[in-house]
Symmetry: C2
Amino acid sequence: MTQHRNRRVILAERTTGLPTPDLFELVEDDAPSPGPREVLINNVYVSADPGMKGWISTARNYASVETGATMNAFSVGVVVESNHPDVAEGDVVAANTGWAEYAVADPDRPTFRKVDPALAPISTALGILGINGFTAYFGLLDVGQPREGETVLVSTAAGAVGSAVGQIANIKGCRTVGIAGGTEKTAICTDEFGYSRAIDYKSTDDLDAALREACPDGIDVYFDNVGGDILDTVLGQMNLHGRIAICGTAGTDSWVPQPSGLRPERNMLVSRLRMQGFLCFDYADRYGDAHADLAKWVGEGKIRYREDVAEGLENAPAALAGLYQGRNMGRQLIRVRPDPFA
Amino acid sequence: MTQHRNRRVILAERTTGLPTPDLFELVEDDAPSPGPREVLINNVYVSADPGMKGWISTARNYASVETGATMNAFSVGVVVESNHPDVAEGDVVAANTGWAEYAVADPDRPTFRKVDPALAPISTALGILGINGFTAYFGLLDVGQPREGETVLVSTAAGAVGSAVGQIANIKGCRTVGIAGGTEKTAICTDEFGYSRAIDYKSTDDLDAALREACPDGIDVYFDNVGGDILDTVLGQMNLHGRIAICGTAGTDSWVPQPSGLRPERNMLVSRLRMQGFLCFDYADRYGDAHADLAKWVGEGKIRYREDVAEGLENAPAALAGLYQGRNMGRQLIRVRPDPFA
């Protein structure tokens, strides 16, 4: 076996606030060797995800990265060594291997999937045909349960998840309204992602009035990527038996100490609302269904997507920090090496 | 037809705060006459409900009473005049007729039910075999969806709804923990209603610690009658995929202006919680199922209940005000006239 020299980005320090580049460190060492039933992957793309704020936080979370460890991330790459009977050298695979050029993975884990490079660009395995698409699919359809003709409101509506939510809701016959930051993003919402209306929360003094104007029949489903004040406002405009899917809390920079907001329970009761947090990992056994539907819709041109690709692993921390300033336009990826299929 | 002289209590003034006796007025006039397909009922018991705070509030609510109108309430009484083919003079019926000795009702409304005086005391039609039992039944089983062996936490655990929730959860094989105000109520919780543990929130400095001690395996279902700070605390101790049924918001005196509390969305996301507001009226088409199960459980001695009966319609406003001081022990009713079946 060839011994590969590796480059990877480790978490140097955890934080209670937003991720900044100085919390990470690029290290060089030898690539690891795969154990029994494991494979070695040479990554092509790795991801920068809004949820990483939580992964590196000192607060309680659904996942976390220890200091000194390779920063966790989604990845797609090519298998260069396999000890697993179902995976061959040269296979393109998506896994959860982190910010590294080379990484070992266990194909028996549910996060490991083979990727067909003939179907779509392999980068989509980290976006619309991967975590973002699956998150949108299950969060909207299983948690939000929209019905034809209903109004579906989406925050971070131009983002990798939000844009997919809006388009799936349109496919299901809903009226879609987006919330995004800045006129460039609201223009993308209506011009590219099929939203009926898009609200620029940054230039709106009175979100309550703007929402009432954009959603004259009230809101039936709110797919929420931000929480915070926007959620507080939306809660007052939900229709009877409305559903709120809590997908992310990007609107709050730090949860230590836990911040305050308007109490939700009265609106929950009066309008008989259902609010539910979810993670797409909980639906891992149904990824196949989501992938089939999403690939079909992408192929038919019913779902569009955007990617924002930073070059070089060393730029991963800056790309991550940029997410929280809203600098990215679409799914934020990092190209670790030239894409052999592009 | 006999012309009956009537006494009823009207709402003189709406409020943003807690109900006080001076908001109501006792009036005397002639009893109304039933129209086509209507009946005239001579009430025996009427109710005082925690939800009435919302009914007379100037804030947005699911139901409201206008000033000058008879105060809305649940009632059980005897039909004295019937223009409906399915209802006979002398039938005992539960309806939603308000604080009045005589009232007209429409038997075709879903809130109108015949009551079998041989099955149980007719007052139970306003409690365990009526609104309270149905609220507990659907809120716990449909919204909370407890599974055998799970921990179910209930607030206002000794109350008319809470005590039924705890006992139904026990029947379903759950471990139950109650929260109540005062040692008399916590003693009733464990001695009479089968809770494994009961926490007196009034004498507890550190509810978080008390809950962790009483719920060492975390909380799977929270049946919440109070909201407020207690809900904030519970949210941090819910197990993965936990369910919160929002049944009432008795912990908050006024919703104008909307008060603040700890933001829930991070816990909702991290633990993938589901929080849902509900009203038992939404399940009116399934009251028959609930009644059958509850009557069986009451008959088998698996469900106990308490009633707190005030004498005379003129005492209804004071009985209502007492609810918010936690003065009642069990379902608060008002006896309008001697119970002919007692």
